[in-house]
Symmetry: C2
Subunit: 451 residues, 2 copies
């Protein structure tokens, strides 16, 4: 007898029961279909990268969270690990585009739905393994700002189809605040970044603390007030544009930002994106240096506590670490594992879906096994997903199985039915059953399933 | 200026260009659709498992190939790694079924299409990261042998749809050879396993070497001859059954095996699996102790050098390491990364597929950008996958882009067309173009794409 090892999984990973997995797979399918609808091509990269390629600048916050990978042999010989698990999909994309630059075509529009890894301290809602669902549009040397409007159009399509309640895609453009800072003669790029980082905290720490922090960064309190007024501006897209232009800022970067936002708003209209789904919101500054223009953050209206469920923006240079080519881009990422976990635990995903399997053919008699297999072939050829119960078991047990597996239809074919050329079709939801001719069973099942 | 790190990937991983990735994704979609058609439910497990759970018996051949995972902190503190990457999908399945046994329903039919990891010595055709596409049917306490016939029916469906040329699903039943050995009074289970392992090598080392090896294992040369005759038997399924029954073996295990194979053959007929797609072949012994009944190996007829592209079988107990419950099952695995690599390098996948994106809307004038976005919405709503070229570029450059990205249709809408309410539709393959009314562009495009 073997010693029993208690079966369990690593903390910080998400593993689902079949009924949950089906919901998750459908969410991925929705996301993927929208990405493809907008002309993105699929990409997958290896889960691990060469350590020195992944960590182009070492010693940062990121490296602390990286998982290193090593074979037993290498471990036993005391070698340093050479491989590391990807912590996002952006670095692998940068590496990929630089590596295959000559074989690709630009603008290169790719989507990538894969898992990434971070050695987070284990706590509720923090995952060490999680899905990211990314799209990026990468240009060679330049990329029209018009592409920036595609991103919220796609996200709006996805979240409407996911049916998770009302949501708001907040957008802004970092050129606006940077331009305002320029006009205040706060031109030092590091200071500007620090200011944007403080602004990013406004929802968490409140206006006063942000104001203090800005003054500490050397901004006059008058200017701090202007900044705070700007980042808390509210109104329709056109009201926002109006209020900003009334600031009278003449800085070129600011004017460029205004032009880009205005064009983004026009394009959203052309693409039929409902205005209530988007909000021009200057507090969306996003701390990362990486972003240089449009930025996005998406919230589920009824669940602000989820935070941003999907964020991204425009960047000037994707792959400076890997190539001298200039590769500007715009992209966004849905953190699906965390979102799914939040939706599940907050009861938004309360409907238990039917099984993928649509039909269970019950086993009434061993002698009729060939009939069951033949019936399954007919139904599969008609496009249905069919399981045949092959074990000998009481009908009651077979029905309980269908119930537990959430298979919506059970077919009975016993000696009696065989003689009459019929099948009994049972609807597991209504518990109703009817006898139909064997030749019309696909129609009967189809009617029940399409209801 | 950053120092440029040459972009490259870890050896033993497969990374694809977009045109190849599209073929790969389609192959996965075909496999998945057949798995679902037969009533399997999707499952995903974390890429890493707790080391002690993954490696229930340590020191084996498997452990040498395992990749261990460790965060920087853990590494720096000199800790042993606690996590390891899965090396197959069977161990995670066993752990999963044992862990969630009470919430599952049996027979539990799951499919799992994920990557697995092995620290193989890097060489052509050996992958350190590769996809496995697994199905298993797990029973609680018992599982009807009738399920064994579903596996080749699914595999036949998949490989026909994959369109990779003729293929043969070899099958056998380990009870036959074990029964024959019993009847020869070779009853020691270890010796039986060693005999089956030798037989498994027959294609590689030839009959004589196998015969020698059997004699070395203590089998009389007469008996070795009988065994060799059996494992090299050829003929139709019924001829094979006939020849085996003429051996007159009375051993119970043998008779059980005969019964199971005969029933498998009947069921394959009921499921319309063409006999030329399957071959009852006793040399398919499969070295692993794990299998206890039916075994399968699949070869692409024109490429025997690929080896078995998909193997599996029946086992008595899935999860003995994790639970006292008895969980017999039957399953098979397609090693898709290796198969894809082989198909690609042997020229079987010679057709370059069109892009997923079906339509490119060219950019004729910045002023018409809203028209392009609106046209894209109309076409996306009609179900097409549409990209809009947003950058200002000469038409020639845009056409080259469509060509390189293999987008089959390009639409032109310039000032002239705008005035007339028309669009020019260009078929990138025939290079023909025609002018259609804006209101009928979806129809025109549909006709071209459905050809």
């Amino acid at each position: 007898m073997n010693k029993i090892v208690p079966p369990r999984i690593a903390s910080g990973t998400m593993e689902l029961l079949p009924k949950e997995q089906i919901i998750f797979q459908r969410m991925i399918a929705v996301i993927q279909s929208w990405y493809e609808k907008f002309g993105f091509t699929p990409l997958e990269t290896p889960v691990f990268e060469i350590k020195d390629v992944l960590l182009t600048k070492s010693g940062g916050e990121t490296e602390k969270q990286v998982y290193f990978v090593q074979s037993l042999g290498s471990l036993q010989q005391g070698h340093e690990p050479e491989l590391a698990l990807r912590f996002d999909l952006t670095v692998p994309l940068a590496r990929y585009v630089a590596q295959y630059e000559r074989e690709l075509y630009f603008p290169f529009k790719r989507y990538q739905i894969q898992r990434v890894y971070r050695g987070e301290r284990a706590q509720k809602g923090r995952f060490r393994e999680f899905y990211q669902c990314d799209i990026d549009i990468i240009g060679k040397d330049s990329l029209s700002p018009l592409y920036d409007a595609e991103i919220p159009a796609i996200i709006a399509g996805i979240f409407e189809e996911l049916n998770v309640g009302d949501f708001t895609i907040n957008f802004s453009n970092r050129k606006l605040l940077k331009g305002i800072l320029n006009s205040m003669e706060v031109r030092d790029s590091d200071t500007q970044t620090l200011v944007l980082r403080e602004i990013d905290k406004i929802d968490k720490i409140g206006k006063e603390k942000v104001s203090e922090a800005l003054v500490n960064l050397g901004i006059s309190s008058d200017n701090a007030n202007i900044i705070l007024r700007v980042v808390t501006l509210k109104g329709s897209n056109s009201e926002m544009l109006q209020a900003l232009s009334e600031l009278g800022v003449k800085d070129e970067l600011f004017l460029q930002g205004m032009e880009e936002v205005s064009s983004l708003i026009d394009s959203l209209k052309s693409m039929n994106v409902k205005e209530r789904r988007t909000r021009f919101n200057l507090s969306i500054a996003r701390g990362l240096d990486y972003y240089t223009g449009t930025v996005y953050e998406t919230v589920i209206d009824a669940h602000p506590e989820f935070g941003s469920v999907c964020s991204g923006g425009r960047y000037d240079d994707l792959a400076g670490h890997y190539t001298k080519s200039n590769l500007p881009g715009v992209g966004i990422s849905i953190g699906l594992t965390r979102l799914f976990d939040q939706l599940l635990s907050s009861g938004v995903l309360k409907d238990v879906p039917a099984a993928m399997t649509e039909i269970l053919i019950a086993n009434m008699a061993y002698e009729l096994r060939a009939d069951y297999l033949e019936l399954a072939v007919v139904l599969r050829n008609a496009g249905f997903k069919v399981s045949v119960y092959m074990d000998s078991a009481k009908l009651d047990k077979q029905l309980k199985y269908a119930d537990k597996a959430r298979i919506p239809i059970v077919l009975f074919l016993g000696e009696e039915e065989k003689k009459n050329g019929t099948v009994v079709v049972k609807d597991m939801k209504s518990k109703e059953q009817k006898t139909v001719m064997l030749s019309s069973v696909a129609d009967a099942v189809g009617q029940l399933l399409r209801v």
